[in-house]
């Protein structure tokens, strides 16, 4: 099987995150492989391993789009066990919204030849829109299976479960397909020492827009279909009154709610 996993280099949510510079994009200084993409990578590795791994010709290609530093997301993926890395990088990509991102990623996936599956996380932890997997599927003309909490592949078909608000669904689709997975699907592995050493020998292919045949005017700020016109930092929440229970905190809580007109 040939599986492409989309991995994004995102600002670490453990630190305060900021918008800045041209077009109010996120500051990417303290960035990491998006935690939610680790579940996608793990799902791909498990599918490949169940079919005899790379020795049996299974490929797990970690694909990241982003500035020079985004290669770190690809490196971490290789350490976890991806067989190859691809880094799509081009100055013209800066500021791409979901539509422009999905356009570039669709072109990059096509460039990689015939793939069986594209697996992504359920959302990026920076943009948090969940738009890209569905837009990628639309652009590639593939079935989309989003928010999968289980994933099985048998022959040319995949079966997944997904939880909607009022129901749980079983879905089936022919391959190739685009799948996004939730954090319920597995426990991502940590890169071990062997993996870290092995990753050093794995190749990372760098692609530019010219390599994948995308016109720079179709991506980045120029090619995006949305623009942020203003951004205002909200004053951080501050702590209010804190009391220690002396046997009547439940009553004091109700007094507070009454004073706030919340009863």
């Amino acid at each position: 099987m040939k599986i492409v996993v989309l991995v994004k280099h995102v600002p670490d949510a453990q630190f305060d995150r900021h918008l800045n510079g041209e077009g109010n994009t996120a500051d990417r200084d303290e960035s990491i492989l998006s935690e939610l993409d680790e579940y996608a990578l793990e799902a791909a590795l498990q599918l490949a391993e169940a079919r005899g791994g790379s020795k049996a010709g299974n490929q797990v290609i970690a694909l990241s789009m982003g500035p020079a530093r985004a290669v770190n997301a690809v490196k971490k993926s290789l350490q976890m066990g991806a067989t190859e890395g691809v880094h799509l990088t081009d100055d013209a990509l800066a500021g791409s919204d979901a539509a422009a991102t999905s356009l570039a990623l669709a072109a990059a996936v096509r460039h990689l030849g015939s793939v069986d599956l594209v697996i992504t996380g359920m959302a990026s932890t920076d943009g948090e829109t969940s738009l890209v997997p569905a837009q990628l599927a639309e652009r590639l003309g593939l079935p989309q299976v989003t928010f999968a909490s289980t994933l099985e592949v048998d022959g040319g078909r995949l079966t997944a479960r997904r939880d909607a608000d009022t129901s749980s669904e079983t879905v089936e689709a022919p391959l190739p397909a685009v799948v996004s997975v939730t954090d319920q699907i597995n426990e991502p592995r940590y890169p071990n020492f062997k993996g870290i050493i092995a990753a050093k020998r794995k190749s990372i292919t760098t692609l530019s827009l010219a390599d994948i045949g995308v016109d720079p005017a179709q991506v980045g700020f120029a090619g995006s279909w949305t623009t942020v016109t203003s951004a205002e930092q909200r004053p951080p929440r501050t702590a209010g009154t804190i009391i220690t229970d002396e046997g009547d905190a439940g009553i004091k809580l109700v007094d507070f709610l009454a004073a706030q007109k919340l009863l």
């Binding site: 989309q144 022919p174 919340l262």
Partner: protein, 315 residues
């Protein structure tokens, strides 16, 4: 005046509050048309009229619910093209956002999700980075696709009712879509829906397997029940109740956090709540940094006492 298309999916016998919010916003922006999927009951038809809907469109195909997203997006795109809509409004559910996503590609339209307000010129307002910034965004394309977060518009019927005409939209064939082969209905709790509840009482690992006190307080307040991931992972409560980065984002009038430490991924889903109350026995828990009213105490003492007191005061 803008032409606005509102997508409403399977309303059943009556429209949800979030659908009324969409119709109210649509009317404030221009002339509104509804693209409906599913049955059109008399009650729903009457509500459309009451909310000033100009016309109602229905799909030529009846099996849209058997597939994931793609055919619904194709239908709404065709409806938008038929009506010449400049703005397409959908709800902000995961499915609403995905339909919006594909619709955007089909219509060459910018998509903005998590919208809380829209100006007359189409500028949309939303919070980003887990609620730490308020932004204004705009589609640069002739058509904008917006998904509206629940609870940000007050439902308001039109000053004068309309008598909308109904029409049919041919659903274009979709090359490839995942088929839904089984659907298990979940049991309804009878409590308000978590995403649009006015009050949420959420429990975490501190509930130690017993959500009884959380449910009791929620019922006394008429609130929805939420949970941290630790509680849902432990199987104490259904995964649907999870609030946070990978669960639901809520912004109720009041969020009561009980036995939850307040990890960044949990905060991401609740820190835009109007008022936050926290009950936790560890004074060092990060949740106290954002609580308007914090109680250092045991959930098994504080919650039942509060529930009993509310019942007493309500008589």
């Amino acid at each position: 005046m803008a032409k606005v298309l509102v997508f409403i999916d399977n309303p059943g016998a009556s429209l949800k509050k979030s659908s009324l919010e969409l119709l109210t916003l649509a009317r404030s922006l221009g002339e509104s048309t509804v693209a409906l999927n599913g049955e059109l009951s008399d009650g729903v038809a009457a509500t459309f009229a009451e909310y000033g809907v100009g016309s109602i469109l229905r799909p030529s195909a009846q099996d849209l619910d058997d597939f994931l997203v793609a055919p619904k997006a194709a239908y709404v795109a065709a409806a938008a093209e038929t009506t010449g809509a400049n703005i397409v409004l959908l709800d902000n559910s995961p499915e609403g956002k995905e339909i919006a996503a594909r619709l955007g590609i089909r219509l060459n339209a910018g998509v903005i999700t998590d919208v809380v307000a829209v100006d007359p010129d189409g500028t949309a307002h939303k919070a980003v980075l887990a609620g730490s910034y308020n932004t204004a965004c705009k589609a640069t394309t002739p058509v904008s696709v917006l998904t509206l977060k629940a609870n940000n518009v007050t439902p308001d019927p039109a000053p004068a009712a309309t008598s909308p005409e109904t029409g049919t939209v041919e659903v274009p064939a979709v090359a490839a879509a995942a088929r839904i082969t089984a659907r298990e209905q979940k049991v309804a709790s009878g409590r308000p829906d978590l995403t649009d509840a006015r009050i949420v009482v959420a429990g975490g690992r501190g509930m130690d397997g017993d959500f009884g006190p959380v449910e009791e307080l929620a019922d006394a307040l008429g609130a929805a029940v939420g949970a941290s991931r630790a509680a849902t992972d432990a199987g104490w409560i259904s995964h649907d109740a999870q609030v946070g980065q990978t669960g639901k984002t809520v912004s109720p009038q009041l969020y009561i956090s009980a036995g939850i430490s307040g990890a960044i991924q949990q905060k991401a889903g609740m820190q835009t709540s109007k008022v936050i109350v926290a009950v936790n026995k560890d004074a060092e828990s990060p949740v106290f940094e954002i609580a308007d009213f914090g109680i250092i105490g045991d959930v098994f003492d504080v919650l039942p006492q509060a529930a009993a007191e509310i019942k007493k005061r309500k008589g």
